[in-house]
Amino acid sequence: MTQTSSLYRHGDVLIGAVAVLPTGAVPRPGLVLAHGEHTGHSHRIRETNAASLYAYGHELYLVVSAPTATLIHEEHRPIELPVGVYRVWQQREYTPSAIRTVVD
């Protein structure tokens, strides 16, 4: 994976700016980027009209249409994301048998 432009880390969630939304990406309801498995907390956009989520296969994309959108979570400080298109993914962790997605 190559990432040369803006990159943000919000706990175990990574948000990296990309040039464009992939053709064929499908709108996904809601503004929750990731759910906490045990805590019930979630990484989500605070302003309902500032952003949209899209699914492209197993990948998740966030389009910020307002000048800024605020990424929030109960335990992590908010991040102001500027207008743009972002790919969203989660940290991974190594085990000898499999590489797993980190969940909080």
């Binding site: 943000y8 880390r9 706990g11 990574l14 940290q91």
Partner: protein, 317 residues
């Protein structure tokens, strides 16, 4: 005496009335055998349908649901979103209904050689299941209840977090797989091997990992078993107890971070990054591949980057 589920089918049927003492004894249909050939008595019973696997499949997917279905072979309906229920009584050889997300109603009387029912819509299973081999119910996050009478060789309830208890009358002869289930013990009368992710474990490892000691894990010779114990014990606590060689340290938004290495006999070393969350100040220990030698490379790998120069976050919170 009985309850009715959301789709109108009795989850539990009323108990049959006691026979009148003066009445002549009613003929009792024999209990159907587990063999694929149904008994003649059942073939004559009202509502019973005897079919081939192909006909049974077409019948069930058409939505015409017989009360009793006897299939002369394996019933394979994997990956069928149209499938919502199965007959109240079902006899077949192998029943396979994996990846049927809308399947909520299962047989109350089931006779089969094996059952594969992973990733379905089941919440409750009731009744009387007699299965010769394995019942696999893994990866059913809403499953809360198993049949009151369930006999099989082996059972998997892996990744069924809402399943908190097994029925006291459960009869197994071989093993039960419990990784990721909500179980905290087995019924007292159930003497069966316990598996965690396919590896045999004892009750303490499965249900009371807090009672384990790090040094015990280090002394386990079998690599697979040691990995399971380490996972149950928790990497954070393991490193807390055994320490580890700090092979690199630097600072990020959360403060100092350390790359730790713990050599293991007959296995690759544990290499893990210890970091502090910049928001909560909680410490996390995250394992990385054993070839990683710097904190920067470890943090980049955890974020999904093979090259540490590609990982330069503007903000971390």
């Amino acid at each position: 005496m009985f309850s009715i589920n959301a789709r109108g089918r009795h989850l539990r049927r009323p108990a049959p009335a006691a026979p009148e003492p003066a009445a002549p004894a009613a003929p009792v249909p024999p209990t159907p055998s587990i063999a694929s050939e149904p008994t003649a008595a059942y073939a004559r019973a009202a509502g019973v349908v005897r079919t081939t696997p192909e006909e049974a499949r077409a019948l069930l997917l058409s939505g015409r649901m017989p009360d009793e279905l006897i299939v002369s072979g394996a019933l394979r309906l994997n990956g069928e979103p149209r499938l919502r229920e199965l007959p109240t009584f079902l006899e077949c050889t192998h029943l396979e209904v994996n990846n049927c997300p809308n399947l909520e109603l299962f047989p109350e009387r089931l006779r089969a050689t094996s059952v594969q029912a992973t990733r379905t819509g089941i919440r409750e299973l009731t009744g009387d299941w007699l299965v010769r081999e394995t019942v696999n119910l893994s990866d059913n996050p809403r499953l809360q209840r198993l049949p009151e009478r369930l006999t099989a060789k082996s059972l998997s309830v892996a990744n069924c977090p809402q399943l908190l208890h097994l029925p006291a009358t459960l009869h197994l002869t071989n093993w039960v797989e419990v990784a990721g289930s909500g179980l905290t013990s087995l019924p007292s009368g159930l003497k069966v091997n316990i598996r965690w992710q396919g590896t045999a474990v004892d009750e303490r490892t499965a249900f009371r990992p807090e009672d384990l000691k790090a040094v015990e894990i280090l002394n386990v010779r079998n690599v697979t078993r040691r990995r399971v114990l380490l996972e149950r014990f928790g990497l954070d606590r393991f490193i807390e107890e055994v320490g580890g060689l700090i092979i690199d340290r630097d600072r990020d938004a959360g403060g100092e971070r350390q790359l730790l290495s713990i050599p293991l006999e007959d296995d690759e070393p544990i290499v893990a990054l210890r970091v502090k969350c910049p928001s909560t100040a909680h410490s996390y220990v995250l394992r990385v591949p054993p070839h990683v030698r710097t904190c920067r490379r470890a943090a980049a790998w955890l974020a999904g980057f093979e090259n540490e120069h590609d990982y330069r976050p503007l903000i971390e919170t």
